[in-house]
């Protein structure tokens, strides 16, 4: 009673933190589905089952890439915020501000693509946005870049606010990361909770990435309107991937918090953090800031040592956290008497998808392999594996966890299996096509490639049907979930 009065006296609209998280997830559910339909459109076009004009294919590809990367960030930020909030004071207002900035940015980006015809890929590599060959206007390209700036500013605020909350409790980001525990200088039991460690690495990586991204976005904007301002294209590429790679890479480190928090709830075992856990996160923090160089393996103008470093770091980058997570997952689950339900199964699948997807990625991060596989569908093959079957699985697990405390799971199991089987078929079709040297980012495929495209299309359709089921049941459960506590047991 007293509490309710306090809330009234502050005179603000009371959007509860939980409702805010659900709002994020509702947006995520819809956007994921729409973007998957765009993906299916591309696959069907490559399969020559539908007719899509090539220039529109590139609009769709740009929107799918930008939309997926953005919504991956947004949905995994919801996971992170939900759990870090239990340990550190963070602001719901800032969290919602990020959502608003995201939606504004999304409108600008969608307008750039579907109205303005912008199709320079989500990576907006300099100076392509300014060289449309008449397909899109300068304003369309600018709308895309400004949309990205909006999304970046929202995330910047969110991460800064989490940093503020974390710093108010820990003496420095190093302590929140668990640096002392990592090197055995403090007992691991006294270390920060996994959610805090992961959020700290995410904010370090993303704040630096966004700051760099903002600079290169402004420079690209100036170049659009005053083309005589030219920049070193290789420098611009470095900056863009520093931002782009980091942003998409960090989504998995935010989403993985769902694994640390949800599996223990169902298995009734605590997620044990030891020195190795903290060391892994410290190492991956260092790596995630430098691993973008694998995008430059074919740039002979880069100094050789950067390429060698990029190659070694690419091998190592994801591994520490992946290993401790996979190992921790097994120890939490093994013989715990866990009764599987779709939420637990989804986050478990997330770890598996991540682990499996990293293997072809590491192969591709090797210069010798990269000179063959670069720009083949091997690349969408590996990143769809750990994004669609890794990161998205964790988010879907979180959505299911929040909205279905009751064990009436039949419908959700159907969704789960459709999504899993369809997803596996879809990514294997990409990987096989890549192994057969089918290039990525081709709107029109030759006859020999069509079998891969068709099998991939069928897999994609099944996966989307599964995701649709999971998202629908999320919306059905949402009303009660606003008021509920997190499901326990």
């Amino acid at each position: 009673m007293t509490m309710a009065v306090t809330a009234g006296r502050t005179g603000r609209t009371a959007i509860s933190p939980r409702a805010a998280v659900l709002a994020y997830l509702a947006v995520a559910g819809v956007v994921f589905l729409l973007m998957m339909l765009l993906g299916l459109t591309m696959r069907l076009a490559q399969a020559q089952w539908i007719d899509v004009p090539p220039n529109f294919f590139y609009v769709v590809m740009t929107m799918h890439g930008a939309g997926m990367v953005g919504i991956a960030g947004l949905s995994s930020a919801a996971v992170m915020w939900h759990f870090v909030r239990r340990h550190d004071p963070v602001s719901t207002a800032v969290f919602l501000t990020n959502l608003v900035f995201f939606l504004i940015g999304a409108v600008l980006i969608l307008g750039a693509g579907f109205i303005g015809g912008f199709g320079a890929a989500w990576t907006f590599l300099f100076p392509l946005p300014a060289h449309s060959g008449g397909l899109w206007s300068v304003n369309a390209a600018a709308s895309y870049l400004i949309g990205l700036i909006f999304i970046g500013v929202g995330f910047l605020l969110l991460h800064l606010d989490i940093a503020r909350g974390i710093l108010s409790k820990y003496h420095g980001l190093g302590a929140a990361l668990g640096v002392k525990q990592a090197f055995g200088l403090a007992p691991a039991e006294a270390g920060p909770p996994p959610a805090v460690t992961a959020s700290t690495m995410a904010l370090i990586a993303n704040i630096l990435g966004i700051v760099v991204g903002a600079a290169v976005l402004v420079i690209s904007l100036v170049n659009l309107y005053v083309p005589s301002f030219t920049f070193n294209t290789l420098a611009a590429k470095n900056l863009i991937y520093y931002f782009g790679h980091t942003f998409i890479n960090v989504t998995i480190y935010m989403a993985v918090i769902a694994v640390y928090e949800i599996l223990p709830v169902y298995s009734h075992r605590k997620w044990k953090t030891n020195w190795a856990f903290y060391l892994a996160w410290v190492l991956s923090t260092v790596f995630v800031l430098t691993v973008y160089t694998h995008h430059l393996l074919m740039d002979f103008a880069m100094p050789t040592w950067t390429l060698v470093a990029g190659q070694v770091i690419s091998w190592l980058s994801g591994l520490p956290v992946l290993l401790v997570t996979a190992f921790g997952t097994l120890t939490v689950v093994y013989r715990s008497g866990l009764r599987w339900n779709p939420a637990a199964a989804l986050v478990f699948l997330g770890v598996a998808g991540w682990a499996i997807g990293v293997i072809p990625a590491i192969a591709d991060g090797t210069i010798a392999v990269n000179s063959v596989m670069h720009n083949t569908q091997w690349v969408p093959g590996h990143f769809h594996t750990y994004l669609l079957l890794g990161m998205v699985a964790m988010v879907l697990g979180f959505m299911t966890y929040l909205t279905n405390p009751q064990p009436r799971y039949g419908f959700a199991w159907l969704g789960y299996w459709l999504y899993l089987v369809g997803g596996v078929i879809f990514v294997i079709a990409f990987l096989l096509a890549g192994a057969a040297s089918v290039p990525r980012r081709y709107a029109v495929h030759v006859a020999q490639w069509l079998p891969y495209d068709r099998i991939g299309s069928i897999g994609a359709a099944l996966a989307i049907a599964g995701v649709l089921i999971l998202v629908v049941r999320f919306f059905v459960g949402m009303r009660t979930a606003v008021l509920a506590e997190d499901p326990i047991g």
Partner: protein
């Protein structure tokens, strides 16, 4: 230091900068102009703010809600004096230079000194996170420009200025990062915890309200 001494020191400092030897030396080079003279003028204003803090009128303090108006002035002032046109005019016309010598301490340095402490930690961090890429981007633009942007500086000076700004941006970024990493912000941290304690209270209140 007492208020009076501070004030005298600030005025002396200003005069030294304004008198021809220092002024022409610092303005003869674009990088020195942007990366040394202007920051010094801003520092001067911050010193003035320290001197004037106790005499700040109450209405000013309360009008400066969360320090936002003051910091907006800082952002606008610094942005303006990064423009090539402004640099040129300052050299061409000593009256314009006087404007610079007055606005940088009074409209940038002083608000910085007064408003910064009123700004909540999130706001401060956001300002840093905007300022650093802005410096970098302006530096990049000086490098990428097809021609000389200032009539009074050679193209090699312009390039040096571009690199200097980029270097300053990187240095600031690294310093900021290290400070946050080892937690070297005693005053900020205290404030942060005060703010967040309020925030947590409010949130608990909201949680209670929505669960009821």
């Amino acid at each position: 230091m007492s208020t009076r001494r501070l004030l005298i020191a600030a005025c002396g400092f200003w005069l030294v900068l304004w008198l021809p030897p220092a002024r022409s030396a610092l303005e003869s080079d674009m990088a020195l102009h942007m990366a040394l003279q202007m920051p010094l003028l801003i520092v001067l204003g911050v010193l003035l703010a320290a001197a004037a803090r106790h005499d700040e009128p109450r209405w000013l303090a309360s009008a400066d809600w969360l320090g936002i108006p003051g910091i907006v002035a800082v952002v606008l002032g610094t942005s303006f004096w990064m423009l090539p046109l402004a640099l040129d005019q300052a050299i061409a016309d000593f009256r314009f230079d006087l404007v610079k010598f007055l606005t940088l301490p009074i409209l940038v340095g002083m608000p910085l000194g007064l408003s910064w402490r009123r700004m909540p930690p999130l706001g401060r961090a956001f300002i840093w996170a905007n300022f650093i890429p802005k410096l970098g981007a302006v530096g990049g633009l000086y490098l990428g420009a097809p021609t000389r942007l200032c009539a009074y500086y050679r193209i090699d000076q312009q390039e040096l200025a571009g690199w200097t700004l980029i270097a300053v941006a990187i240095a600031l970024g690294i310093t900021w990062f290290i400070a946050a990493f080892i937690g070297w912000t005693p005053s900020c941290a205290q404030q942060a915890s005060r703010h967040s304690a309020e925030g947590a209270g409010r949130q608990r209140a909201f949680g209670g309200a929505s669960a009821a």
